[in-house]
Symmetry: D2
Subunit: 448 residues, 4 copies
């Protein structure tokens, strides 16, 4: 369990309201889906939406209701087996690769499970608010943050699921699609050569080196992996003022970047050959060039929007080709603390677009943009424990600690991240080969 | 395409009625399902019900409407890619193992596809009945028989799909379940020791050897693999008057049959060890003994009902253990023609039970029972072409011929087979390891 | 254990001489090898020659010395684990796929093992000849026949092992190579167009159908799978008077036979695509056409010699393409008994060529050639037990019976088979995908 | 190619002498092997010794002779294909997993290859010493260092190869074995309880934190991955004065460390379960406790010697269990520079023991021991490029750079490392699951 001492006990009504908001948002994300969409698992990384809906509920049932509601009996005796994700402490569970073979319980049963647990949680908050200990508040907040993590996974998993059909279906109902098409042109500029040629080049911004402190230094919630705050040394370096765009990545593609091993890590090159990668995930060649599968179906490539759905290998190969490099996570956080991004500028889950947007052409080149809420930025840092980190006791000790090897850190949050879920110290992590998240990159280099 | 000369051209109205009946039966089988049940594919052998619904429709669209309806345009340009099963002649198709990853087209879209094709077929029969050539009638009948094959696969695939959930859901709505419970006790005797101990032992029936003719010798439809009728020599042999029961197979289990390699084919033994088989598929140990997963959920083992869901390996090992052997397919057909079973006695799909029933205790021991419509009987005959068989030209030449190696013949039809779909010459075939069909066995031995 | 009643007890000296001859021949086959050649296992089907040398010795140690030599202690306590092949009765053993990972025991230690066992067997024959029971003689003969089987496997495994090196080394020392080059030109005709164009076409020979007896009907040794002799019915048919040649198979290759699924069994087609087969195993394209890897290294394709190293799938596809079919094993044996081939005409292991030879151009077209000792002929018959077959008790009951499903019968022996090891009733068997034996085909068709 | 500016041009004779010494040492390591031992590849990580002998030779032929000897023709045209390891720049090559399938070229041919290349190199040094540019000297030294790396791999690969045989053969000829048994008892103390109970506990040594410089700061050769020297910040920490011993690790084993997921990284736990790990590689349970497979065959567990053949997962789990942690690579190097180990104390390849030795019981507890030449110490640092690192141009740019993700750094060298090959800045790297190197650990913790 994370170090959560900073979480103060919210008043019961506020807590209930926040709980309701988070839980409803999860269901809102699933609302456009057919029952058919909620059970399949096209690749092992993707979980069926039905599973996400149930697993987040199981979390509250297990860690809140079973712990703090005397006499609580579980909604269904088999659900722990079905909806435990990876907690060895809590017994055996359905093999991850088999999540997509289960048609039952039905989607309606899962919604009934959600309703029953929500009801019990509401009653708990109402009836026993005064008796609940501080640790309850910590775990409760963790449950909400956990559900927000699954909201982002829901979006990326739904995108992958819809993409496997040759029908390339849109997630958005028509009226929403229309709304999107009517967005102001600064958001979705016409995809013309003119527009693209006038799009400003990225600028380099200097960041002073030295011994800096990274990790959570603010009040409020964080995961345990952001702790403890600690000192690191970095040399002077420079960072680009925005994310790498589709147009820039397209140059790499057209320059034969996927055919030249010199830019690639060895394991990345072997994988790219084996899987015959020719471009980022979701790029589909057509007669005129490239289309992309998006939540709105197949769309022309938005040239000035940040490139996404890259593996680390592709992000790193691009940086090599561009004569630059990826930042380390320490550099990223030091820069982010230095530039103090305006969170309101971010393109979060709440925008309901679930895709990246171009930087406005009049954006100030001396400021650092798109640090929060556009695309997860691959760093060249392994996801390891910070010095002094210790796993918590109990089942929640498995939350983060056991993953702290063989993965890489990503920073900044994406267009599928809830705005209230991100922080400058937030550490996301994936294996180097993963591409189904909204993952992009920003170039760094040593101070010249 | 099969040799179908014997199919006479039905009058148009009769044809339309038969078409409607077969097509509606397919949908009736799927009616109890949730949309969630229709998309998953827990093992490669099982296809999602949604796929069966669409694939049988694609068959009529491709081989009937596109051939015989001038100016017909396909319902959807991507459906051929999605719903072709294995016809290389007809272009590429979705990888068989990936059928369970596709949530779209939606179930409702597939039903709309069925309705549109049904409508077009009806109009074709109405408008052009007089112009359609003899070969149309052959292919049309093949389409109906093909759909009946998929009706049986639907039942066994649905059973497997439901079985993967720890909830062990029942396929039957409650009123149907009640109806079943109210069936006369001869059909479903109380599972008591008394009842079982009074159940008659199997008797051996003699069949004279010599040169016999097997293969289709009657009028009416058959698949091409039943042709040509030809002579075979068999020595005198004996066959049991009924199928092996659950009680008999249980003796094998309890005698350590799954732990003793001496009874087993080598490849079967290795598989059984690797998969840790302890009993037939769907047998579930409980404190009191064994339960079975059935279409009515978990049920106590019906001791006197024919054992089903055996691989060839298990059927053969049982026969070895019992000091007998499996019949060859020639023996089976010679015996069946000799005993002339009463088809009305069979336990076909139309019974709506989708499970085997015990032989009435007063059944005549001198007659041969359960030859048609109880369980597919594994034979010890490879599924090879009959002498003189030749593949048809065109795409339908792929219907049967290319499977004629590495599989074994099963005879007699099962409780999931439509009564109008079975014949004494009917040849079903599966690989030796398959267990998800209603497969059982009957013992044979040389005439002593 | 096979039914071996017909084996009469040889006098001790004759037995010892025959034992010595067989055992020495095994070592003669391995003599040209380097120690390095004797340990590798490039595919799971191929066993390291060192393993063959030891395993055949283990057979005599286990079934002869441990049974009949009182007080015998095994040569090495670990050798049973290392050199048991597939006898579950005799305990666990090295995983088949791992045979090629064992560098020890050294080749010299294996030869020492052979010498020690040979010595003990000689002493047993010398000292206890009069006391040994009839069953001893049966098992002893089985041991010799078993070793002859492994001689053939040694040759084909050595060929495969040498073929994996891009150096394409020759098995033959130079002086032997020279001897081969000096063979009369009827055996190895110049590969000129003239010669090939004058090579006679195959003729069709009629064989009368009816009820015939197949299976061992002569005195002497046979494996249990050749028993019991029994009656079968076949219709009139025709067989070609010789095996299909490389030139004929080349026509299939050049006609696009490997690119047209219509000729192929489905599983064969899928395999051929996956493995990118373009021609038989060991055919290597070069600028001028095709070379073949042979025991003499890379050689030009001998156009008139029988084609070998075909899978069943390729043999069957060729027959489909040629408008003919493969014979069944019953047809093959009936024909062979009808034509009574001259065994002296065969091209057996003793020729030391380990390759097929063209039929002399003046061979009588009315006689049936190459039935014995050229290439194993794929039949379209599953390798199943004959009616009345029963597995023997004890470990030797595993010799044949447990393989009697999922494989196909081959008949006639090859250029790697010892002449004394073949019979008209001999049944060899392999899975349909295997290509590393000297496997070819002869065309059959119904009597027109 | 590494940054090698510091390598001064040795005089020709000295260079030739050093070349001869390194090349001969490689062959000395292989001298006790049988030809059979030199071709097998029991796991993909292990290369056949014959391959190592040839590959190191190919390196000199490719990067020295072909570059600097005008008119040089390669020894054999196929050898580049056979003996290239992973240089994509230099064309296709034998699949790594198939190295163990090649029996040819023979071991003798590989030695002839070595002799021919050695001869050509000698002549080059003799004839053209004055004309060779500085870069020649850099690459030549790299070839020698590369060969030393393969000497260590040879030792660990040979150990693994010998271990796969149930015969547990010794690498050492008898006279060497005798020599070892006669070593002074301080090196190999009797394995008694008395002795072990008197073995001193490890002490903790403090290392001051702050901004330190790591990476090569001395003259002489280094690999490019040790460059550039750069600053890092670490907090105060403590390190144990010696490596963890077999006795200490045995406590973890006996405390159920392999059965408790709480100590383990998730991926490590899953692997350990799947592979059924119960102890380090080469530990073999016997009635009395544990034996270890060593280069001298099976031996009782040397309790006070450093534990080796651990994966990162096991090393890390041990540290978790012991309430400590692994050092980072920066901590390790800062500590090593702080303590300035006496290289003469190390237990290098030259000791010819190829196993760890206990620290003398009178070793000074205030000094830091076993930093160089005992066991590679797993660090909790990903193997990433140092800030400012850039891959060299040309084929040698593939030497290190493309591996810089997904692996972990190990420090200090082992009992199989040549003494002249190690440095305080040396970075070795393996994936977290690898166990076949002499890999151990030293505990670290924060300054309390």
């Amino acid at each position: 369990m994370p170090e959560l001492a900073a979480v103060s006990a919210f008043p019961s009504a506020a807590l209930a309201a926040r709980y309701a908001q988070v839980r409803q948002q999860t269901e809102a994300i699933c609302r456009p889906l057919l029952p058919e969409d909620t059970v399949v698992q096209p690749i092992i990384d993707v979980s069926p939406p039905k599973w996400h809906l149930a697993h987040t509920t199981w979390f509250f049932e297990t860690f809140i209701l079973q712990e703090y509601q005397p006499g609580y009996t579980v909604h269904h005796p088999d659900y722990a087996f079905l909806f435990n994700s990876y907690y060895n402490s809590l017994g055996s569970r359905v093999n991850r690769a088999d999540r997509g073979t289960l048609s039952r319980p039905a989607l309606a049963d899962v919604y009934a499970y959600r309703a029953a647990v929500d009801d019990a949680v509401r009653r708990l908050l109402q009836d026993r608010a005064d008796e609940l200990p501080a640790v309850f508040h910590e775990v409760f907040e963790l449950g909400l943050q956990h559900e927000q993590q699954h909201q982002e996974l829901l979006i990326t998993d739904i995108k992958y699921i819809l993409s496997t059909s040759p029908l390339a279906p849109s997630y958005f109902k028509e009226e929403l699609g229309e709304r999107i098409e009517k967005l102001p042109s600064t958001d979705f500029p016409a995809k013309t050569e003119d527009n693209h040629s006038s799009f400003p080049k990225a600028s380099w911004l200097a960041v002073p080196g030295g011994v800096h402190t990274i990790g959570l230094q603010e009040d409020g919630f964080s995961f345990d992996n952001e702790l403890p705050a600690h000192q690191v040394y970095v040399a002077d370096f420079e960072l680009q003022n925005r994310l790498v765009t589709n147009a820039e990545f397209l140059e790499f593609v057209e320059a034969g970047g996927y055919q030249n091993f010199r830019y690639w890590m060895g394991e990345g090159w072997d994988l790219a050959q084996r899987e015959q990668w020719q471009a980022p995930l979701y790029w589909v060649p057509d007669a005129a060039g490239w289309q992309r599968f998006t939540m709105r179906g197949l769309q022309p490539l938005e040239l000035n929007a940040p490139v996404t759905h890259l593996s680390f290998y592709e992000a790193d190969a691009y940086a090599q080709w561009a004569g630059a490099r990826l930042p380390t996570e320490a550099e990223w956080e030091i820069a982010a603390r230095f530039f103090q991004p305006d969170a309101a500028e971010g393109n979060f889950q709440e925008s309901n677009l679930f895709d990246t947007r171009p930087l406005p052409t009049d954006a100030d080149p001396a400021r650092c943009h798109q640090l929060l809420g556009d695309a997860w930025e691959w760093t060249y840092s392994a996801y390891h424990a910070y010095p002094g980190y210790a796993r918590a006791a109990g089942a929640l000790g498995e939350y983060n600690g056991k993953f702290m090897v063989n993965q890489l850190v990503l920073r900044g949050g994406s267009c599928a991240t809830p705005a209230s879920h991100i922080r400058l110290s937030y550490r996301n992590f994936f294996h180097a080969d993963k591409r189904w998240q909204f993952t992009g990159l920003r170039l760094a280099r040593a101070r010249s």
